[in-house]
């Protein structure tokens, strides 16, 4: 089973790399659909509960779709799922992060700043003392992820600077008034906007600006362009402290 999991992770990485190569524009990253975890269908009158690993699952007999489990039932089901996971991964050390005093984590002498995450140039498996999935990624994985994120932000950059991509009917783009996204203040959301008579999210403000100075059509929250605009705007404020509600 361990080998199967490793193979799955490997396939995942191959797919990511393929995407990185095939999506230099970041447009695919801006798409909103996420891969679904497909679970076997339950026998009549039961519900299937799955673990976050995308593999392990169990059927709760007698629980009808839409029904709540009792607290005792829920504890039994999660206990059973975790036991199954431990059985499949006898070498993994499951850390209860908050109170596992025994685990040598965050400030171990070899790796003071980064805790158990393998950094660039380190071979994760030799340094990681917890054997968890995340720590088993390599420097090039981080690079791939960064490239993906940069491509996504870059697509947002293009939308932000293009009257055409924004669908402006009057030739106006965001950068005309917000060079480098200055004065968009994404770190201040959510905040009450008197003029909208509601607490607004960043995307509500983006929509407002698309509708008004840009004179275009508002975007669905899951529209790739909206996602990319959010990504670009947030990326320009890297390092600025979150400060929701600020005016």
């Amino acid at each position: 089973m361990v080998t199967v999991t490793a193979a799955l992770v490997a396939i995942g990485l191959v797919t990511l790399r393929y995407l990185a190569a095939a999506d230099p524009t970041g447009v695919a990253q801006a798409q909103s659909s996420l891969p679904a975890h497909s679970v076997p269908s339950a026998s009549r009158g039961a519900v299937v509960v799955e673990l976050c690993d995308g593999v392990t699952h169990t059927e709760v007999k007698g629980l009808k779709p839409g029904q709540q489990m009792t607290r005792a039932q829920a504890l039994a089901v999660t206990g059973q799922l975790m036991a199954e996971w431990r059985r499949k991964h006898p070498d993994r050390h499951w850390v209860l992060a908050q109170n596992d005093q025994a685990s040598p984590s965050a400030s171990s002498p070899e790796n003071p700043a980064r805790g158990n995450i393998a950094g660039p140039g380190e071979t994760a498996n030799t340094k990681s003392q917890q054997g968890d999935t995340y720590a088993s990624f390599h420097e090039r994985d981080f690079k791939v992820w960064q490239a993906q994120t940069d491509a996504f932000v870059n697509y947002g950059n293009q939308v932000f600077h293009s009257a055409k991509l924004l669908g402006s009917t009057i030739g106006v783009s965001c950068d005309m008034c917000h060079p480098n996204a200055a004065n968009t203040h994404p770190e201040t959301y959510p905040k009450y906007q008197e003029q909208l008579q509601r607490v607004a999210l960043l995307r509500d403000m983006i929509d407002w600006c698309i509708e008004n100075p840009i004179k275009g059509k508002t975007l669905d929250p899951n529209d790739p362009k909206m996602r990319a605009l959010e990504a670009y705007i947030l990326a320009q404020r890297k390092g600025v402290a979150l400060d929701y509600g600020k005016h």
Binding site: H161, I170, G171, V172, D175, M176, C177, H178, P179, N180, A182, N183, H185, Q195, L196, Q197, D204, M205, D207, W208, C209, E211, N212, P213, K215, T218, H247
Partner: protein
């Protein structure tokens, strides 16, 4: 959101239409009721009434009373107005920016007495096309006072100034006005970044039009024009006050956005040999002032949109204007006036639409900020 919320602009026009419709056939009693109601609404919102020029007159009165206290030194006081940075597209594409410059023209035409002249501060067009420049010329043609034109980078980089010069003449010139020597410069030349990149004229224009487009070069007055300036000023006595107009600020504020003139120090070296120098510039779309040695600098407002204060480099003496309301097209925009005083200093009034006008007295700048500090903003940039 689209259905439930209307823009300030839309609501304004709807309100106005409603009032106008009602006015068309109402008796005197109803009329009084209506006008009281509209005044009430205006005051409740804390807005400046539609006649913003009334408030300007109050501001000027404060300046006027000073004219007597300084001894005349050969120059007579005079007033001039400005309109700047309208960034026009043609009417068929974009009414928003047209509406804004027309509003500025109305403001200036309503000044009584009229200013001696109106300086147009550059960036009449958004992308330098003949249609955009002609549209602007037609609108500015409605001004009652004589107009002096200055060129901006948005007017220049499609055809390197060909159409603009055909319409308005040379971009660099000087004249004398009531004892003051006035110079208008072309400060937005850029070193050739387009030939090597094989850009079309339209691509070159689009690149320059992007404030945060790092591909372009920095603005400069250039060797030839600095020579011209030296020669021009050689004919003027050192005690004659200078009034210099440039589109970009003739100092270094923020390089990435070209809030900057590459050869600023060299130009300043020429100017500072004269006793009283005022430089007035466009391009930055914000309340902005600075003092370097004996040179006072004022930035002009745009009619089209306000620009954020740059993340660094803001001159210490600048008092920021409040951040703009994104729900109000006109907020943070406006036009303004300058008064050349008998003591050869220049005061300015920032006529910010939908806000109280702000007067910046020259004394504030020349005292290094010790006197006459303009009111601080409640919402500064961050």
């Amino acid at each position: 959101m689209a259905a439930r919320h209307k823009s300030v602009e839309t609501r304004f026009y709807e309100d106005r239409d409603r009032v106008l419709r009602a006015l068309r056939n109402c008796d005197r009693r109803t009329f009084l009721k209506l006008s009281a109601a509209t005044m009430g609404a205006v005051m409740a919102k804390g807005l400046v009434p539609p006649h913003t020029f009334q408030l300007i007159e109050v501001a000027n009165a404060a300046v006027d009373k000073n004219w007597g206290t300084h001894g005349a030194q050969g120059s007579a006081p005079f007033r001039f107005a400005y309109i700047s940075d309208a960034h026009l597209y043609e009417r068929t594409l974009n009414q928003r920016f047209i509406r804004a410059i027309v509003k500025a023209v109305d403001d200036v035409n309503a000044l009584d007495p009229q200013p001696d002249f109106v300086l147009y501060g550059g960036d009449l067009a958004q992308l330098g096309s003949p249609g955009q420049l002609e549209t602007g010329r037609q609108i500015l043609g409605n001004l009652k006072a004589p107009v002096k034109m200055m060129v901006g980078e948005h007017d220049w980089f499609l055809d390197l100034g060909e159409k603009w010069q055909e319409l308005f003449g040379p971009p660099t010139y000087s004249f004398d006005w009531k004892g003051v020597h006035v110079v208008v410069l072309q400060s937005v030349y850029e070193k050739d970044f387009w030939t090597a990149r094989k850009m079309t004229p339209a691509e070159r224009m689009q690149t320059v039009a992007g404030l945060d487009n790092a591909v372009q070069s920095r603005f400069e007055v250039g060797d030839a024009q600095r020579e011209w300036l030296k020669n021009d000023l050689a004919k003027v006595s050192k005690s004659t006050p200078l009034l210099i107009f440039s589109h970009s600020p003739l100092y270094k504020y923020y390089r990435p956005w070209n809030f900057w003139t590459e050869d600023a120090e060299q130009v300043q070296a020429i100017l500072k040999q004269h006793e009283k120098v005022t430089v007035i510039h466009g391009h930055t779309h914000q309340m902005l002032f600075n003092q370097i040695g004996n040179i006072s600098f004022y930035g002009m407002l745009s009619t089209a949109w306000p620009w954020p204060y740059a993340p660094e480099g803001l001159p210490k003496l600048t008092v920021q204007m409040n951040r703009a309301d994104p729900f109000d097209q006109f907020d943070g925009c406006g036009d303004g006036e300058f008064t050349a005083r008998t003591d050869q200093l220049v005061d300015t009034v920032y006529n910010l639409w939908d806000r109280n006008p702000v007067t910046v007295r020259a004394d504030y700048l020349v005292s290094g900020g010790k006197v006459d500090r303009p009111p601080a903003p409640q919402f500064a940039s961050y």
